[in-house]
Every structure is written in structure tokens, then in C-alpha cells.
């Protein structure tokens, strides 16, 4: 499997959220500010990559019957490490994501990729699978955060960007973000869990529409090429 294919798979054609549709719980719960979205996405990316590499490395010695137990041990180990890391260095993120960091242990993306990919592929491919699937997850989280934050409270980059004293990035969660329009005009329902479902539905539908469209175009192009080849062959026969 080529890296380019893996890249496209992870971000678009086999995106964990919009195509595989796994790991949705945290997606809807935490996508209320860019700070949360980026933090959660990168945490999952790190854990997913580490777990993929380890699962792939031990794939030949683990008995098939207890593979799930082993996956859970590996995942729980890395999740706990990342949890401790966030608590130590980005306490604001740890507080804001709360229980959703420990809950990555039962996030379907990690165990799903271990089951579907890394237990069948070598370490290098599994590493890139982790990185690209993690990036695909982060991408959707960021899209949802931007939509919900902008339409819900008229802001961009809440918690991450501070414009109170000139433009700067913060990691202590105090940044107010860039106010694009007054928050009174925001559809605050989008910041509620209902808004999470709504936004996710719209994002998935949009993505599926373009996927279907490009698949159709590809098929049509293939058919046209086949037709042309057939005509050329007929002409040659004549």
C-alpha cells in the first residue's frame, strides 16, 4: 500500500468519522471550541499512532483468541500516559476535555484500526495509518469546531487564540478567540449537544455527496476510456 493512498484514505475516502463513522461520542461532545477540537484530535493522533505501531510489532506473537484483551491493555497504557502528559503540561486542556481523554480507551477508532489494519500490516504501514487516520479525525473535529463556534457564538479559535493584547496563541485556555460577530446573534443551539448532532450530520452528508460524485465521475471516465479503446480496436480491424 502506497503512502499517498493511505493519506487519501485517512483524510477522505476512509475517514474515521465521515466514512467509517466510528468514535462519534467524543466528536459531538467536545467540538465546542477550536482549543478542544485540536487538543482532542492531536491526543487521538498520538495514541492511535503509538497503538498501531505496538500492535503491529507484536501482531505475530499474540494469540488470536485474546487479541482484544491485548489491544485494550496497549490502548489503556498509552491513553493513561497521554492523560498524565496533558495534566502535567496543558492542564487547561485536561480540565476542558475532562473525562473524554480517559474515554479514548474505549474509542472505536483506536481499537477499530488495531483490528482492521495494524494487526494485518507491517510496522511502517501501521505507523502511517495511525498518523493519517489521526489527521482525518483532527480535520473533521476542526471543521465541526469552526462551524459550531462561528455560528453558535460568533467566535473563531476560542481558547487557542488571544486577541486581548495583540494576536497570540495561548495554551492556558484563557484566549477569548476572535469575535467575528456579537455572540448575541449566534444560534446558541449549535453549542448544545443537539448542535453537535446537526453539524455532524451536515458534515457527513456533504462529504458523502462529494465522494459519490467523484466516484461517479471516475466510473464515467473509465467507461469512456474503455469505449474509446474498443472503437480504436474496431477501426484497426477495419
Amino acid at each position: 500500500m502506497r503512502i499517498q493512498d493511505q493519506f487519501r484514505d485517512g483524510l477522505i475516502t476512509n475517514n474515521p468519522i465521515t466514512v467509517q463513522q466510528i468514535g462519534m461520542c467524543a466528536t459531538m461532545a467536545i467540538t465546542t471550541s477550536l482549543f478542544n477540537g485540536v487538543g482532542m484530535g492531536l491526543s487521538v493522533l498520538i495514541i492511535l499512532t503509538c497503538c498501531n505501531v505496538v500492535v503491529s510489532a507484536v501482531r505475530k506473537i499474540i494469540p488470536n483468541e485474546i487479541r482484544l484483551a491485548i489491544f485494550v491493555v496497549i490502548i489503556a497504557g498509552f491513553v493513561t500516559i497521554v492523560d498524565l502528559l496533558l495534566k502535567a503540561y496543558i492542564p487547561a486542556l485536561s480540565e476542558s476535555l475532562g473525562v473524554f481523554i480517559p474515554l479514548i480507551v474505549v474509542n472505536c477508532i483506536i481499537i477499530g484500526r488495531a483490528e482492521a489494519f495494524s494487526q494485518k500490516n507491517d510496522v511502517k504501514a501501521s505507523f502511517f495509518d495511525g498518523v493519517f487516520q489521526g489527521l482525518g479525525y483532527t480535520m473533521i473535529l476542526v471543521i465541526m469546531c469552526v462551524i459550531r463556534e462561528l455560528l453558535g457564538s460568533g467566535r473563531f479559535g476560542g481558547g487557542l487564540i488571544d486577541v486581548a493584547k495583540g494576536f497570540r496563541f495561548t495554551l492556558d485556555g484563557t484566549g477569548g478567540g476572535i469575535q467575528i460577530f456579537p455572540s448575541d446573534f449566534g444560534a446558541s443551539i449549535l453549542t448544545l449537544p443537539f448542535g453537535g448532532f446537526l453539524t455532524l450530520g451536515v458534515v457527513i452528508a456533504t462529504m458523502q455527496y462529494f465522494l459519490k460524485k467523484s466516484a461517479k465521475q471516475k466510473k464515467a471516465a473509465e467507461e469512456a476510456a474503455a469505449e474509446a479503446a474498443r472503437l480504436a480496436a474496431e477501426q484497426e480491424e477495419d
Partner: protein
């Protein structure tokens, strides 16, 4: 047999490996926490009931240590827990004096005149939707549909004759009823305070006379006769200064409307 042995071996080895890794990680990513937080958490009742208004006992312990929450909010633990928490936090135990809820209204059925016959849902807020006032003519009166009763987790509130009453032996002073009352008349008073005017009306005397047969008309008699200057009529309503009150019960005896209540020793 071979599979079982292999499984035990592999899982055991991985477990040991990750155990070591986690022990190492918890050392390098170690975060110093306030030792008082663990001590406060230990002192709490540990029921995770949410009666304090924080997400579980851990949340409340963190808020106490940060200084955001008072020491006496643990309703399940009661006074003993409050004293323990106050000791850990190095605060005096005065703040932890037991408070109880009190409904300053005596406008029970037949006493308070009605504005209209209400037959909607049994909910104070619903009753107030009709023009922002309740079905009782007095705009300060207890509506008596028991939003406070529903809010009380300790079965200390009951509706008697259309007015909420507090059963002091059950009340822990959590203040849930204070937040639930749409009229904002329920308040917390020190349990030791035995004198309280049971009326909230700030209307002038003649209006009160028309609305209710017992409400405070602001006649100032209690203010004149109080030996400790503890009772003052403000906004046409007798109000007791808890710090000054010597609990001599004189005001309760002389009140022409018999609105000043004396809670006996049994409460």
C-alpha cells in the same frame, strides 16, 4: 493448552511492560496537588449526591480548596462534616453554623385572598405564567404548589394548607429550595434563631389588609417595643437582625397580626 499458556505469557509480559512504562510516566509527568484536597475529599460523606451543587464529591473538594465553595455545603455529611472540612481548611467553624430553610409566608388557604381560581399544572412557575403573578392576591405570597418540595432531597419541605412549611429536623440547609422558589421568598436562617416574622409582603398596610388576614402591615409596634433594637420595619415589613436578637419573644407576643413566629425548642 499451548494457547492458554501462550496467552497468559503474552498478556502477562505486555501487562508488566506497560505497568513499568506507566510507573515511569507517572514519575516524569508528576503533578503536585494540594494535599488538602485529598484530605477534604476524605472528610466528605462520599455519596456523590450532588446536593452541594458541584459535580460529585471530588468537584466539591476541589472547589473548597480553591476557596470557591464554603465549607458547609456537604448536605449528606451535615454539621460534623462541615466542622471537619473547616478544620482542614483552617477556617473557624462559625461559617459552618447550621442553617435551615424558612418560608416567610402565612398566607394559607382561606387566609390569603385569591386573585383567580387556578386549575393549571401544580407548579409554582406555571402558576406565575399568568401575568407574572400567582393566583394569590398578595404578590409576595407562597404559591403553595411545591416547587421547593420537589427540589428538597431530604423530605424536609411540605405543603400545609397551601403554604410551604419546613420540617427543621430534616432540613440540612442545602439551599435547594431557595433556588427553586420562583417568588424568591424562601431563605436560609440560622437554626438557633427562634424568632422570625412569617410574612414577605412589602406592600403598604391597607393593601396587605385587603390581600391577607394575617400579613405584616408595618405598624411598627415590634420596632418600638423591642428591647434589643433587633427588629426593624423596612419596606413596610418587620425584619429581624439575627445578630442583635436576644430571642426574648416579646415581639411575638405583642404583634397585633400574630405574624411573628416563635419556634419552640423542638423547632
Amino acid at each position: 493448552m499451548k494457547t492458554i499458556l501462550l496467552s497468559i505469557l503474552v498478556l502477562g509480559a505486555l501487562g508488566a511492560l506497560f505497568g513499568a512504562l506507566l510507573a515511569f510516566a507517572s514519575k516524569i509527568f508528576h503533578v503536585e496537588t494540594d494535599p488538602r484536597q485529598a484530605a477534604v475529599r476524605e472528610a466528605l460523606a462520599g455519596a456523590n449526591c450532588g446536593g452541594c451543587g458541584y459535580p460529585g464529591c471530588d468537584g466539591y473538594a476541589a472547589a473548597v480548596v480553591k476557596g470557591e465553595a464554603p465549607c458547609n455545603k456537604c448536605v449528606a455529611g451535615g454539621a460534623a462534616t462541615a466542622a471537619k472540612v473547616a478544620e482542614i481548611m483552617g477556617e473557624s467553624n462559625d461559617a459552618a453554623e447550621k442553617m435551615v430553610a424558612f418560608v416567610p409566608c402565612s398566607g394559607s388557604t382561606g387566609v390569603a385572598e385569591l386573585r383567580f381560581n387556578y386549575s393549571g399544572p401544580e407548579n409554582c412557575r406555571a402558576a406565575m405564567l399568568f401575568g407574572g403573578q400567582s393566583n394569590k392576591l398578595c404578590t409576595f405570597a407562597c404559591i403553595g404548589f411545591g416547587n421547593c418540595v420537589k427540589a428538597c432531597k431530604f423530605d424536609a419541605m411540605h405543603i400545609e394548607n397551601g403554604v410551604a412549611k419546613v420540617q427543621r429536623s430534616h432540613c440540612v440547609g442545602c439551599g435547594a429550595c431557595v433556588d427553586a422558589c420562583p417568588k424568591n421568598i424562601v431563605k436560609l436562617i440560622p437554626a438557633s434563631q427562634r424568632i422570625m416574622p412569617a410574612c414577605s409582603s412589602k406592600d403598604k398596610g391597607p393593601i396587605v389588609m385587603k390581600n391577607c388576614t394575617v400579613g405584616c402591615i408595618g405598624c411598627m409596634k415590634c420596632q418600638r417595643e423591642c428591647p434589643a433594637d433587633a427588629i426593624v420595619v423596612k419596606d413596610n415589613l418587620a425584619q429581624v437582625d439575627v445578630d442583635k436578637c436576644i430571642q426574648c419573644v416579646h415581639c411575638a407576643d405583642i404583634c397585633p397580626r400574630h405574624i411573628i413566629l416563635y419556634f419552640g425548642k423542638t423547632g
